[in-house]
Symmetry: D2
Subunit: 144 residues, 4 copies
């Protein structure tokens, strides 16, 4: 697949995730080992202090890492990940940027940064760092 | 606060989280160091393989751990957590059960198990294990 | 293998780890899905504040989880783990107790508690919680 | 402190860690928010497959992240970290390179890459990725 086919295929997968449609995420870039997942911040995504709920940020990081890994090894599932929230997000748009850092036949280690972006200035502030392990569905089927 | 006041206070906090209302979570129990957060599975919470989206499970674990810690040290924020998904959830109800395992003045370490529950048999199957660190808002304000 | 064969086999594996001999760890129990790894605290295992160095505690947790998983699925490697240190260890003996919480054909999720034990009273205080993912060597060979 | 004072101070701290002397680690660089910790691989650091034991790699990552954070906020303790092993290390030298990615008054989030380096070619291969949280001792004392 070339770059635009990969992105187009990725968008189909994202569209087939009911929860991603419900939450409103968009895949803005997908290349071998790299994914950018974006989400416009709306009032129903916040927590009690007026920041984006951590669950939303986790969703983005988890999904972006799965797409980054999937772009390299096909259909995947997240095995596990870890996330550090470092700043409350009160911006207008979140962008999760994920990279496949180490790729094996069935396991991929990814890292992700989630940024809180001001839509006018396009300036982003990092609000979370994540690192996780993604497995190809083929292997996973044998293992759970 | 006694037990029922704690639960009632916790429910107010949950209600003040727009995202928790949006996703439909309910706090079914809250005691010192322990929280049970429940979510009825609906079609818009699924991913492309017909299981509950990992982001939903992460949200539950993260939030349940924050409530478990908050029941002990007051207003809190999640610093970080790690989650292992161990089985795709296709049941009718998810229950995240979180415990505060180690409590300091400002940092609390929690663990959480998310179960996928059949509503008729009330039998649950573990779908995720999480472990995380929660900080009191007072300290956090000084630190980010 | 019965219980005592498993423990005897586990001890051979531990003995074949040069670093485990160097650091002085002993496998005191090994059953299907459960391992107890012990280490007598000596001065060369400390850090600058007179507590056991975190690296020692991490070693114990990592290795105990690998043994717990290996007792179920054979030769394994640790994929990843996360550890929270919750109390500085200044006792005489550390015991890492690890359990396989979810077992698949090739991936096992384990949890571990490391305790700091007073050798006279045999009372232990938890000094760390860990959670990790272990893979069978067979799968790992295909994947890295 | 200027750069060389920081490195010199860091080396004193490392020297005061009995376990770091025992294992043979050296601090080769320390700057604000960045630490390089090095370890020459010797036979007693290996596991049963002839690779460096994971516990050694974890020690390096943990300690390098603590030094990176400490270079910014002073005396610190590791709260928690997560590590993914991605390739067995069979080289001659390990180098852990840690960065402080987000710095608060008392909490610092760090990331670390551990490389397995061939001493002749000076070429390195990544063998682990870590991410963790470090706290200033002042805050920690109040919290555990």
């Amino acid at each position: 697949m070339n770059g635009s086919e990969l992105l187009s295929e990725g968008r189909s997968v994202l569209k087939s995730q009911a929860f991603s449609r419900y939450i409103g995420a968009e895949l803005v870039d997908l290349a071998k080992g790299h994914a950018l997942l974006e989400l416009v911040v709306e009032p129903h995504l916040l927590q009690q202090h007026g920041r984006v709920h951590g669950g939303v940020i986790s969703y983005l990081a988890d999904n972006a890492m799965a797409f980054a890994a999937g772009s390299v090894i096909g259909d995947v599932l997240t095995v596990e990940y870890k996330i550090n929230y470092v700043k409350g997000a009160r911006g207008q748009k979140l962008i999760a940027s994920a990279h496949a850092e180490a790729v094996g036949k069935s396991l991929v280690v990814c890292r992700c940064i989630v940024e809180d972006v001001n839509m006018e200035s396009e300036r982003g502030v990092t609000c979370a760092f994540a690192q996780g392990t993604v497995v190809s569905v083929a292997v996973s089927k044998g293992t759970s």
